[in-house]
Assembly symmetry: C3
Homo-oligomer: 312 residues x 3
């Protein structure tokens, strides 16, 4: 197998996207299992799973799907609503985890376990760039922000995972045009449509981790848009918390664990990859940047500037 598309009946945007995905050719009839309803695509590499629970609480659904259905899951794409206080319509995607939350080891408010992260699906960059292209083709780029988000929320899974989202109010959650952007993006990137290719990580390449900036990661997004780089975790400033520093010692705070976790988790998703970091430099103070650079050097993760990022 390959990809598990995860939808939840509690989430109207999730149902909207699932519905459009199942209109693609090649799906078999859905079957009820103990954990949910499963449709299998005739390509043999994609299952769609509909569960009753909201997906952010569905810890371990990847291994449960494997044990119940016998499928092998090596990627989870969660179909989800996006919510924002600003109510800006948006198509967005992001990796999962709460590596910067502290204290560690507790159930986080929006799912997941504080201090931990889920490996990102290696398709992050390609899904983002394809979603952008399709949204423009369908004429939605003026109505919807086409964006990505920093790593946040649950569930806790072992398999490389991404959230694909429509937001940010009920009006957009049920917009079939927005769902179509995601269904076509999925179809192309997973090789479900004729002529499309199922691009997979093959063990070599440059993989970018984004550190710093706001939740919608504008500087990292600019780099990812204009290159063909592979993309791992993106940690916004709120996930890289430093305690104030009085002297020249290494600053305390949850930041170091968050960065280590993001690097490890990205390496798990891209075995053999050259992981490098891209910093939103202006979002850090000098001593914070220095602490980050020093830790990244210890982790053997070079820090590259935008211009240094290798072209495809």
């Amino acid at each position: 197998m390959g990809t598990l598309l995860l939808a939840s009946s509690e989430d109207p945007a999730s149902m909207n996207i699932l519905s459009k995905v199942l209109e693609l050719e090649g799906w078999g009839d859905s079957r009820i299992f103990s954990h949910g309803q499963v449709s299998r695509h005739s390509c043999g590499r994609v299952d769609a799973l509909l569960i009753d629970e909201l997906h952010i609480w569905a810890d371990g659904i990847d291994s449960e799907h494997e044990s119940v259905t016998g499928s092998i899951v090596d990627e989870v794409l969660v179909l989800s609503k996006h919510v924002s206080a600003s109510e800006t319509p948006a198509l967005t995607l992001h990796a999962v985890g709460v590596p910067g939350e502290y204290p560690h080891g507790k159930k986080a408010r929006s799912g997941g376990i504080t201090g931990s992260a889920v490996p990102p699906s290696p398709r992050f960059g390609e899904l983002f760039r394809t979603m952008n292209r399709i949204a423009i083709e369908l004429g939605l780029e003026k109505e919807y922000d086409l964006t990505m988000e920093a790593t946040h929320h649950g569930p806790l899974l072992e398999t490389p995972t991404l959230y694909l989202e429509i937001g940010s109010t009920a009006e957009q959650w049920v917009d079939e045009r927005a769902a179509r952007v995601w269904s076509e993006t999925i179809s192309l990137c997973l090789g479900l449509s004729e002529g499309s290719t199922n691009t997979k990580w093959t063990g070599s390449g440059n993989v970018m981790i984004g550190l710093g900036g706001g939740h919608y990661a504008p500087r990292h997004k600019a780099v990812i848009s204009s290159s063909e780089v592979w993309v791992g975790h993106i940690l916004a400033n709120y996930a890289i918390v430093f305690e104030d520093q009085d002297d020249d010692s290494i600053p305390l705070g949850p930041w170091a664990h968050a960065v280590r976790t993001a690097v490890e988790s990205t390496r798990m998703a891209f075995p053999g990859g050259n992981v490098f970091a891209h910093l939103d430099r202006k979002s850090f103070k000098g001593w914070q940047r220095q602490a980050l650079t020093s830790l990244l050097s210890e982790l053997e993760v070079p820090v590259l500037r935008g211009k240094q990022i290798p072209l495809p």
Copy 2:
């Protein structure tokens, strides 16, 4: 008392059906209790309870209702949405439990405790046949599948229970015509409307357990539609899992526990009844059918074919 109609404010179909039910004559004002809002019908045999939690998680709500209100609950009818990946509009009902899920004793993904089942309300057959008749009278039979489902999901209750559902997308959940089918069915079967009768199990009769087939149980449904048999649990193939058999010994796997549990749970709902099993024969391999027959014989449950099922 008698029947507890359970609705949840988290479920739009549940609210839709409750609203239509409360339009029937004879309801008193609703009263707030610690577990939810209770309306009592003047017949003295029916309470409607509205809770905030989604009903599939409401383990023990039957005994809580008894202790908080002093009512005796001997039947729970849950008003619910139905969800399916295929998006087929449907009116459906089913018994509750996850007797085939393994390992046992854990909280299941969609509520209930793995390995356990809730006794089905003895009104299963009558509710199904009445719902069919009313849906046809109201001209909905072309728009909606009129169907039943195999036993699945939570909550865990002690009282005989059925789920009455509208599905399978948000469009149907709020369809007042669909809600009216259920409100009239409830009114007739519970004896709330003039001239209707409150048919109860009186300690003798033939009670069918359905084993095998898909989730929507077409072969069992055919028998139940064309007879007046009482109906207990229906287990679909996914709940009767055999491990592959190498020799002639009794096959291992969760199947035996699931069947025993379904039989015991059905007998609790129909004390004194003649419980028999109807098999969807083509859905089993020969050695599986043999294992089932042997276990059913040990449990003193005869296996009957469609033609052998006693007429009313």
Copy 3:
């Protein structure tokens, strides 16, 4: 700081009110934190927090907001849907807790911990009277019941809290006019609009606790409407449960704990206040009234009749 406005993306009415509140002038951009999205008002006294979890389950969100953002929270106003089986459109507010539920110390069906109560925000009376005035100004008083409710449901918080609600079906949850009543009420009572004042408890005044009557507290509401009294917990009869009394001893049952808890919790919200009780006399039997009066006397809480309640 001062006030935390709490909204949940699972609750359409909550999102509707939040949206109208954020249209008021003076809000900064929203920022993502580990517990949710935070917008800060330029007055420096009000944060709006949007969480993914339904608010009734958000135990401890007040102290989590403090530790994550560094803000001091001394009041929580929860923006919420209201649900009622009768489907009456309503604008309503109420304090939080389940002090009358028994046995104590357990997670209650609709959130909170049985036997405990959350201090009510001291703004209860003023918010109620302002909401009434604005709803009439906007011409909604014929369409919506303008009401208050007895203390009920969760979450468990330490900070003085009120629920501000729109009900009671999905049609009203998304009514922007209803949301505007609450946004203008909040703006006026929190001093966000020009010329408005941020009325705070300053350590002296008469504070009414309401005991007895139905959930919508008509007799207590009449007193609160026609006075400028401060308002604490209101316990409906269902939260003041007496066991039947055989002799002249003090009656047993959860009532005494509920009343003690309501008094203590109200005193925490109004330090230095003159707490008195107003009884819905007809809702109690003579021996119940006597038991209440005796307990209230022991707690040094005078019982006042409507006419005795001091004018502003």
